[in-house]
């Protein structure tokens, strides 16, 4: 459903991604792996539209979306949880969640959607009136994922969602990722630098090094030791 075709992207004069191609399938978790600074976040920003690629195309359900602004891509069904979460700090948890509805057309049964979200992340229900900025890192991460899920995305981009978070929450987030992929057939792009974590929930993987794809394949047909060399520092 998402095809990245020969994309070259970067900032100002420096090229970060070079001629990258990638496909993401419905209902599959696609892991994007690599050391720090190899272009994983740049790839995410190119897909959501915060960075305009210098060359190449991004196709979504057969449509070329390379020149669309982020809000148009989001309304077509792409959800984005950035690295660092980017919760609105002075807005309450509830207001942050309500902003998730911006991706949807006006007429929608919001209470039903919210109930579903509280089932996935029960802690948010108890914190509705707290300021987003007062939450702990793990709580903010849950809020960021919940906010993106409210927009009913068909594709969810998660940029290092498990980074710096306590193990019990990592477990919870991993379960949620696998659940929405299998039950709601959401395509997921998961950026990770931990091979173990990525392989524990992904179906397919791409490994990046210095802006290019150095390895890709099905998780079930690949042994960790074969790809370890690309990730050790």
């Amino acid at each position: 459903m998402l095809s990245v075709r020969n994309v070259t992207a970067g900032y100002e004069q420096s090229v970060v991604l070079e001629n990258v191609s990638m496909d993401v399938q419905k209902g599959c978790v696609t892991a994007v792996l690599g050391r720090n600074g190899v272009g994983k976040t740049t790839l995410m920003k190119s897909i959501i539209g915060l960075i305009k690629p210098m060359r190449g195309n991004i196709e979504w359900e057969g449509e070329d979306i390379t020149s669309l602004p982020p809000e148009q891509r989001v309304r077509r069904g792409i959800g984005y949880v950035p690295q660092g979460r980017e919760i609105f700090p002075t807005l309450t948890v509830e207001e942050n969640l309500l902003l998730g509805f911006e991706a949807l057309p006006k007429k929608i049964n919001s209470s039903h959607v919210l109930e579903e979200i509280y089932e996935l992340f029960p802690i948010l229900k108890d914190m509705l009136h707290r300021k987003g900025g007062d939450l702990s890192g793990g709580q903010q991460q849950q809020l960021a994922i919940a906010r993106a899920l409210i927009g009913q995305p068909k594709l969810l981009l998660l940029d290092e969602p498990m980074e710096g978070i306590q193990p019990s929450i990592v477990q919870l987030i991993r379960d949620v990722i696998m659940k929405i992929a299998k039950e709601k057939m959401v395509g997921i792009v998961l950026v990770e630098h931990s091979l173990d974590l990525a392989f524990s929930c992904a179906d397919y993987f791409y490994i990046f090094d210095r802006g290019i794809v150095v390895a890709q394949g099905h998780v079930s047909k690949t042994s960790k030791s074969d790809v370890q060399q690309f990730l050790t520092v």
Binding site: L50, E86, F88, E95, D134, R147
Partner: protein, 299 residues
């Protein structure tokens, strides 16, 4: 005692006027970060809109002259808001992230608007006659509180309340706050940031129009009325702290009270100097103003 109460009332009244000229700017400058030198002229446009409504009533409906002001309030809001919308779409939209350019360009716009006012209405000031029901005042223990000043106090209180509710309780207000806090993330949630910019700017401009409408109660209006107020308006917003409407409220009444109290014990010029000096000292101590946003993730 009565001197003190009178001065206090004058301070509140001056504060309410300061607040009125600054609320619009609190949105365009405080929330959106646009340095709009034409803000004063948007006030002027609101004032002339009130004048036009009055002339219209005098011409076509002299028997309902008493109520022209009620019509003038929404008219001045919408005329200034539409002008602001046009200004945003045609000019300011291209100048976000270029504060110096937007300062110069909007200053140019302010000169154009002043000249247009001169061409249409003539250079001399014109008088707007306040409706009769605002003549006179409340007499309490030998002191007089003019209805006009009380009306402006109430008018600004209602305006602030409406603005507060709009920003904090409606979906549109939530979008404005989200874009203000994090433009990229707001876009990544499906918010059209360009639309939000345009609406927010129009609303800020509309409030400038309301301020102009209120100012007509206090004296004659002229093409340069806006330039008298633009510096004060920026001062109030900066003192209050950008990004929070409540800061603007505190800033306006603070400046109003200090201004009147020092003016009573010195002179008008001295009062201005002392007020400015106090603000400078205060901003040295607290550079982000009276009310600054503070949360874990912003530290």
């Amino acid at each position: 005692m009565s001197v003190f109460v009178t001065q206090l009332f004058n301070g509140l009244s001056l504060g309410s006027i300061m607040l009125f000229i600054a609320i619009g700017l609190a949105i365009t400058f405080g929330l959106m970060g646009v340095i709009n030198m034409a803000h004063g002229e948007l006030i002027m446009v609101g004032a002339y809109a009130t004048y036009v409504v009055q002339q219209f009533f005098a011409q076509y409906a002299p028997q309902s002259m008493d109520y022209y002001y009620v019509i003038a309030i929404p008219v001045s809001f919408f005329v200034s808001a539409l002008l602001g919308l046009g200004l945003e779409k045609s000019l300011i939209h291209h100048l976000y992230h270029r504060p110096l350019d937007s300062l110069l360009a909007t200053w140019g716009v302010s000169l154009i608007l002043q000249q247009m006012a001169r061409t249409i209405f003539g250079a001399p000031n014109v008088a707007v006659l306040p409706p009769e029901w605002l003549d006179g005042g409340v007499h309490v223990a030998g002191m007089v509180f003019p209805y006009k000043r009380l009306f402006i106090l109430a008018f600004v209180a209602v305006s602030i309340f409406v603005l507060y509710m709009y920003l904090n309780k409606t979906a549109a207000g939530r979008r404005i706050r989200a874009v203000t806090l994090n433009r990229d993330m707001a876009a990544c949630l499906g918010i059209s940031t360009q639309k939000v910019d345009a609406y927010a700017f129009a609303i800020g401009s509309g409030f400038a129009g309301l301020a102009g409408c209120a100012l007509t109660l206090l004296g004659p209006i002229g093409p340069t009325i806006g330039t008298y107020y633009i510096v004060d308006a920026f001062m109030v917003v900066i003192l209050g702290g950008v990004g929070k409407v409540i800061g603007t409220v505190l800033g306006a009444f603070g400046i109003g009270l200090i201004g009147t109290l020092t003016e009573y014990s010195t002179s008008a010029t001295m009062a201005k100097v002392i007020t400015f000096a106090l603000i400078i000292v205060f901003l040295q101590w607290k550079p982000s103003g009276l009310v600054s946003m503070k949360t874990r993730s912003l530290d």
